[in-house]
Amino acid sequence: MSADHAGPAATLAARVRHLEALLEQRGLVDARELDRALEAFLARASPANGARLVARAWLDEGFRARLLADANAALPELGLSMRGGLQEQRLKVVQNTEQQHNVIVCTLCSCYPLALLGPSPTWYKSPAYRSRVVRDPRAVLREFGFVLDPAVQINVWDASAESRYMVLPRRPAGTENLDEQALAALVTRNGLIGVAPV
């Protein structure tokens, strides 16, 4: 699979570099402008965004319902969007409950909601994670130090098309007195992928 994938990806990268050089040569784009756009996108892309969404959803039931029903429509309430790339990407937020735990993967490549989670960790892109988490998610979670109650059903979401996924973890017990900012600080990137409880 990696050989199949490296070929077209390498060709595509070369084609993009060539195109970019031609556009610059003809004065159609400014290299600094492209760099600025990329930097601006990456500067905003952080798991702190996902954590803010989770904290708000824990505190505000109405927001949680809107986030689960249509995440793209709810994101602007916190000044966020999935519009950072070439086109707006559909975001689906999946909620952990007492009965159900969610885990995110992209088995075909490494699709990931960059704007809300920041650049993806290396392990997320590894063939080992991508092939094993669909086959035996409980064992993979254990390797992350996360032992899930055997009674809880696991649903693995394979982002194999145009949607991106984010997990809404369960609010930890004993956090009733925390404000939104303190709650957001509890949320980890791994929790937003589903390989940690929070």
């Binding site: 199949d4 689906k92 059903q153 649903n155 693995v156 394979d158 194999s160 098309a161 145009e162 949607s163």
Partner: protein
């Protein structure tokens, strides 16, 4: 665009092993699952990768039991699949 399937419909994935790019993962071929929802319409990557004309078609979230995909396991796997990869589970239709 008219959708062939709706939430709760049982569908089966294609068994084809195409020589070209596809986004129907190998582990989910020839498997029966349940449509969760339609996610909108997008051009089929199998055609786009070969630079063939591709109009938008429905893409669905489809849930499979792990035992259907792997022969064991108590979890579920939900994939995003283009309509061209699917046929109704109760027909012998092949794609």
């Amino acid at each position: 665009m008219a959708e062939l399937f709706g939430p709760g419909d049982q569908v089966r994935t294609s068994r084809a092993d195409p020589p070209h790019h596809t986004r129907l993962p190998r582990y989910a071929r020839g498997a029966t699952g349940t449509v969760v929802e339609c996610e909108g319409c997008h051009p089929l990557p199998d055609l786009r990768a070969r630079q063939l004309p591709a109009g938008p078609e429905p893409v669905y979230a489809v849930r499979f039991a792990a035992w259907e995909l792997f022969g064991d396991g108590d979890h579920a796997v939900t994939l995003d699949l283009w309509e061209s990869y699917l046929c109704p589970a109760d027909t012998e239709g092949r794609r």
